[in-house]
Subunit: 529 residues, 2 copies
Amino acid sequence: MKQNIEIFDSTLRDGAQGSGISFSLDDKIKITLELDELGVDYIEAGNPGSNQKDRDYFERINTMKLKHAKLVAFGSTRRKHSKAAEDGNVASLLSAGTQAISIFGKSWDYHVTNVLHTTLEENLAMIADTISYLTKEGKEVIFDAEHFFDGYKNNEGYAMESLKAAYDAGAKALVLCDTNGGAFPDEVAAITAKVKSLFDVTIGIHCHNDGGMAVANSILSVEAGATQVQGTFLGIGERCGNANLSTIIPNLQLKRGYSCIPEETMEQLTTSARYIAEVSNLTLDRSMPYVGHNAFAHKGGMHIDGVIKAKGSFEHIDPEAVGNDRSFIMSEVSGKNTIISSIQRVEPSLTKDSPETREILEKLKKLEHEGFQFEGAEASFELIIRKHLGLYKPFFQLDYFKIIEEEKQGENECSASALIKVMVNGQEEMTAAEGNGPVNAIDKAIRKVLGMFYANLKDFHLTDFKVRVLDGANTAAKVRVLIESTDGEDYWSTIGVSTNIIEASVLALVDSIEYKLIKDMEVEEASKS
Amino acid sequence: MKQNIEIFDSTLRDGAQGSGISFSLDDKIKITLELDELGVDYIEAGNPGSNQKDRDYFERINTMKLKHAKLVAFGSTRRKHSKAAEDGNVASLLSAGTQAISIFGKSWDYHVTNVLHTTLEENLAMIADTISYLTKEGKEVIFDAEHFFDGYKNNEGYAMESLKAAYDAGAKALVLCDTNGGAFPDEVAAITAKVKSLFDVTIGIHCHNDGGMAVANSILSVEAGATQVQGTFLGIGERCGNANLSTIIPNLQLKRGYSCIPEETMEQLTTSARYIAEVSNLTLDRSMPYVGHNAFAHKGGMHIDGVIKAKGSFEHIDPEAVGNDRSFIMSEVSGKNTIISSIQRVEPSLTKDSPETREILEKLKKLEHEGFQFEGAEASFELIIRKHLGLYKPFFQLDYFKIIEEEKQGENECSASALIKVMVNGQEEMTAAEGNGPVNAIDKAIRKVLGMFYANLKDFHLTDFKVRVLDGANTAAKVRVLIESTDGEDYWSTIGVSTNIIEASVLALVDSIEYKLIKDMEVEEASKS
């Protein structure tokens, strides 16, 4: 029987404190449903006492049925020298209508006297009164002992008294928080074990990443007896972030045999991580353990060689276990193997000694020197291979474009128009379109022409657009544009490099459309044969 | 007496395996000098056997004098069934002319038989022969036991034999590598202690981050007896990266009393990290512990309030200890405190109850709703405050612009011209300029006019230019442009939001120039008074 670990996700509450994070009500609903689908146990979704958006969220989510997760409203202990039953914030926690409530309170004496400005006794009363009131109201109460580790190191006795106040008042879980994120793994392990030996109730761990050790601290706490892990799904959070649940879950479940989420959803982990990043309007860190695009991407020639010979040789787990993919990164140091496997996907008869392979390799080096980078632009690289091998049907050619933009001070919109000439099926078509910007104007103009020939373009759209200045220094520098596109089924990435941002964007856009047309043609041909 | 820990930096070697990393020769020299300045002990800079760029690097660096660090060339044991003295790669290691050499060899039996395809005995001979040859040539040899932890778990006896072969051959350090990055802290600690008890030589630790625990694993290894820590300065490296030295160094030195780098350079840590990121053409992760822009940035209202009351209350160390800064992030959840402190920097007489403060708060909310985000665009926010308070001298006004771009298929360059009307000192100036792209053309045209009035603009230039698509879906989406600028002394960031990328860029560019002019005027006025 596997030991069960409760996963307590605070992406929507503590994660919302992360720099650059601003969830809309709709984002919060989407993320809640995704986390529930994945099978986490608790979703801490907001503080109904602090803002209207959170109150609206609870009202809306209560009309939906979750499969697995319990919703949690978050708030603080009652105000000093008052009664929980008469506290407005405590009342708003109840009004959220959740099954569970987490209450944070002080366990570090320094904070009680210097931040809260009250007595040590009154702080204990605030904890006890709030938790016992909410328990009597039928709620499952989780007590977050803020700054527990710093508090313990400063005044062990008082830190323990704060837990005892919560325990005696009926808290179902005592959560040890490393609020400042600076605790060390050995301390976390020893202190968790001590607390575990004293309280016969669920012990939780809540780490921040200021020492870069939030994941390890959480895991050592579990090994010392904690059975609830709090964190955020992608590690987002204030300062250096919270403990990253997308790393902790597979670490515990795949390597140490704990049960965190249902076995059958583990393969959904990568998809969930990318979905949550997209809803959060975040670029997922490519090097994030388990779920990042590069988590199983091999670049060193020797590593690529090793993985080809024996796949466990440079991978700590099978990427499929978390729904991720193995990949080989193209670069000057990766040796030929990666490039050859890309070439062979297009033309299986070629080998590493074929002259075409050598030519493509040289072309690649030349383009990399000019600032292209095919990591993350595999579709553009495939087009280069196809063009070089003559395995390329030119669906269309953008022969000419002109863009005119104009803005007068005080007018709200800047108008952009594009005039293009496109050659399709031997026929030259000229057209023009207006857009919200130059790239949009060209995109619209191209679609206007191509839409007459290729109906399948209607589901195609861009999902990401990134610009990177290469030489750093000024507006005349070379820029690299990376575009990610989708047709609802696949995702692909293309690149354009130029000193002109418009030209770089157009290059990447044209590649993306060409890739889509080639891909559809191949699917169609495969279904015929 | 503090225990000394050798810091072994492999940014230029293992870090170069990171996705998106491609160091020029010049980059490598710059990073070497910066690391030496900081005071690391070893700089592993490349594999002279694998490429010409690394050979050129060693030739050039050998003409320079380093203050503190020893340079290290990296390579593998000799080929199977040959002699080290006749091995070309081993010879090229010697030709690098470094004081130290690191040699990696297999310590996992599975790799010996399934990747190297040789016998267990021959592998030990390869280790012994190579190390003893290089030692006799007068080199300090460091042995990297590849896959040591996996090897130990699979065949403890053989893993230890590989270390013994290196030790007996004269290796000065035995480095335990978690090459696949999946080891757990308890394993790393226990296995390090075991090795330490058997070999009377420096024990090193080299971790990868596939389980998100490379920092903690390195630290627990040190606490178990390792005295050399290998890693990369920003954690860059293949897949999920290497152990991050910029986190490990302050963790060990500021919190556990070890000595890693000279005390006086610790305050340079953040500057070094940002410099190395810039040379590596990387965007430094804002949430990176100790050195990230957000490492001491407070967003939650309660946290900001706490830090203002007692600064240790939500910070694990004083940010100045590593040369970083505390900051408060503006956002809807941060409460008024942050905004008020920004407002008071412009106009000290205003308080949180002033009507102007309320108006600015509302303006901020409205702009955030439109897609502006003032985290990372503090200069634009200051301009908004100044404009609202009437504390703003309009140095210039861009009244009109028109951009024309044209490209014909087959022509290499896309031409962009900008026509502008600018009002300066009550005088309307019209001019035009050609540029490499539309933003560059406008930038040049504006400078052409303003240069006649403001000579101080000549040192001003952009250092970064970021574009983020806000609504995600297509080329008509709203885009947010963030520009970072410098005049050699200060750095500042500005923002523009529009559905039109050109318009968004122009907004950010104009803000940046205005900010520079205001800043210089204030400095000048202060020096007069």
